[in-house]
């Protein structure tokens, strides 16, 4: 055991569903399947639950994106977030204290105006804020980098460890078997169908295998003979000492490729990206990103100049060129599903797992998930989403 709900001993020889990866996608999907009556589910992890990106992310939650695809999925997820603690019977420390997308340039402001109009047309919670509105809301911001913004009052952030543990325990109560320190080393296949997994504790047969392996997802795909245009990349974050409250909202700064919030304990937590994809599987943090983060956060909030940095860390994700998740079945590979390619996976997990489990149990494809299917990468259909603060590897302004 390494967390409450993790089983001791060895996994069984056969399950209806085997999930690879005890991160937030794997644990939430297993929980949603159990909730819908699926009995024999195993979640396997090589390490401890939430040890990859699920425990290393920025914890932010919003649905104010620019594209119908992202808004559809993440708005469902946002609604799930509001009931999650009650449903999972554990406080996941969800703070619906607002999420602000900050524009620093006229171009970004024009995008905010356009996105806000779209939000209104779709009934998505969204407010357009002028420069003065933003500065009134967050007086600590450096006015030189504030042009305006879009606020989602019902967005915010939650505590990622609590979320992982809550899904783990809620799943375990419904019979989901979670095993850690079990390394999946391959897949078993028969006549073009995935029939199970090979592990460090022996083979396990599965009616369905779900690849929720985060930064290791491409290895699992390769075992299934699947090559999709995706890469594994590294993202980095930092946390400061606790500070007097100065930031209630979650915040994404378009000009900085940065996202941040202040925790209930007062720590400022934020990550930034540079204008290239850092293709790496390393979980070591780097000097270049530390300098980038320190420079940008001190620029955005001058008072942070005096704040002490406590920790700096990295996590890995697998990403497609459009940074959108890759969810569902793969053409010509039966018995196998992906919930991979997550870069905004923490905020998306409650919604995506609900829809994916529903799709698995009913066999009816979800119109909200359909745009994110692996097929889009096979066919070269990328989703155009312009409000992200992670580099796509494409040209950036």
């Amino acid at each position: 055991m390494s967390a409450p709900g993790v089983r001791a001993g060895d996994p069984g020889a056969s399950y209806d569903v085997v999930v690879i990866g005890a991160g937030v996608q794997g644990l939430s999907t297993a929980y949603e399947l159990a909730k819908r009556g699926v009995k024999r589910i195993a979640v396997l992890d090589r390490s401890w639950p939430g040890g990859g990106a699920s425990g290393r992310n920025g914890e932010l939650i919003r649905s104010i994106f620019s594209s119908p695809e992202w808004v559809g999925l993440f708005d469902l997820s946002l609604r799930r977030w509001h009931d999650l603690s009650a449903e999972l019977e554990m406080n996941v420390l969800f703070s619906p204290s607002g999420y602000l997308v900050l524009a620093s340039t006229d171009d970004q402001w024009a995008n905010c105006e356009r996105d806000h109009a779209y939000h209104l047309s779709e009934g998505v919670d969204s407010e357009l804020l002028s420069q003065a509105d933003v500065l009134k809301l967050v007086p600590a911001l450096n006015r030189d980098v504030v042009r305006g913004g879009v606020l989602q009052p019902s967005g915010g952030f939650a505590h990622h460890d609590a979320v992982n543990w809550a899904y783990l325990k809620a799943g375990a109560r419904r019979g989901v078997e979670v095993y850690c320190d079990v390394t999946v080393t391959g897949l078993t296949t028969s006549a073009g169908r995935v029939t199970g997994v090979r592990t460090s504790r022996g083979p396990i047969a599965a009616g369905l295998v779900l690849n929720a392996a985060g930064g290791h997802a491409l290895d699992v795909n390769a075992w299934a003979g699947i090559t999709l245009p995706m890469v594994t990349s590294r993202l980095e974050m930092l946390v400061t000492e606790p500070l007097a409250p100065f930031l209630r909202q979650g915040l994404a700064a378009l000009a900085l490729l940065g996202y941040c919030h202040q925790t209930a304990r007062g720590e400022f937590v934020g990550g930034t990206e540079m204008h290239h994809v850092d293709e790496s599987r390393s979980q070591n943090s780097t000097w270049d990103l530390l300098a980038d983060m320190a420079t940008k956060w001190v620029t955005l909030f001058p008072q942070l100049s005096g704040a002490r940095l406590l920790r700096h860390w990295a996590g890995t994700v697998t990403q497609a060129a459009d940074l959108a998740p890759v969810i569902g079945s793969v053409p010509d590979v039966d018995g196998y599903l992906m919930s991979c390619g997550w870069v905004y996976g923490f905020m998306g997990a409650p919604g995506a797992s609900t829809l994916l489990a529903e799709e698995i149990v009913t066999g009816v494809p979800s119109p909200i998930l359909e745009p994110f299917s692996p097929r889009r990468l096979v066919e070269g259909r990328l989703i155009a989403e312009s409000s992200l603060v992670v580099p796509t590897g494409e040209e950036h302004p």
Binding site: P4, D292, L309, H312
Partner: protein
């Protein structure tokens, strides 16, 4: 030690974590150094773990936890910096990272 004494024994002065907190989390199932860290907030305070590490070592030994690599004490991964440093000293507003 009695539960009363455990409640008065501080193992993490940064976050007021007591020996009792540590035992409760362990008994609930947070039995990996990484999950125990996150459940208690040990190693996450301004001292960077310097004050709680010896107490954690002693606790893990007392409950018979498996040691880390090369028989070193089992501890969470070290995260930089070793000593806390002000963001202003790291910032480079005129550099190419701006």
């Amino acid at each position: 030690m009695s539960a009363r004494a455990d409640r008065r024994t501080i193992v993490c002065p940064c976050h007021d974590v007591t020996l009792h907190d540590l035992k409760v989390c362990w008994d609930r199932g947070y039995t990996h150094p990484e999950t125990l860290k996150r459940a208690t907030a040990l190693f996450m305070g301004p001292c960077q773990g310097k004050l709680c590490a010896p107490a954690l070592d002693e606790f893990l030994e007392s409950v018979g936890a498996a040691p880390g690599p090369d028989d070193s004490p089992a501890r969470p991964t070290v995260r930089p910096p070793l000593y806390s440093v002000r963001l202003g000293e790291l910032a480079d507003p005129d550099g190419e990272t701006a």
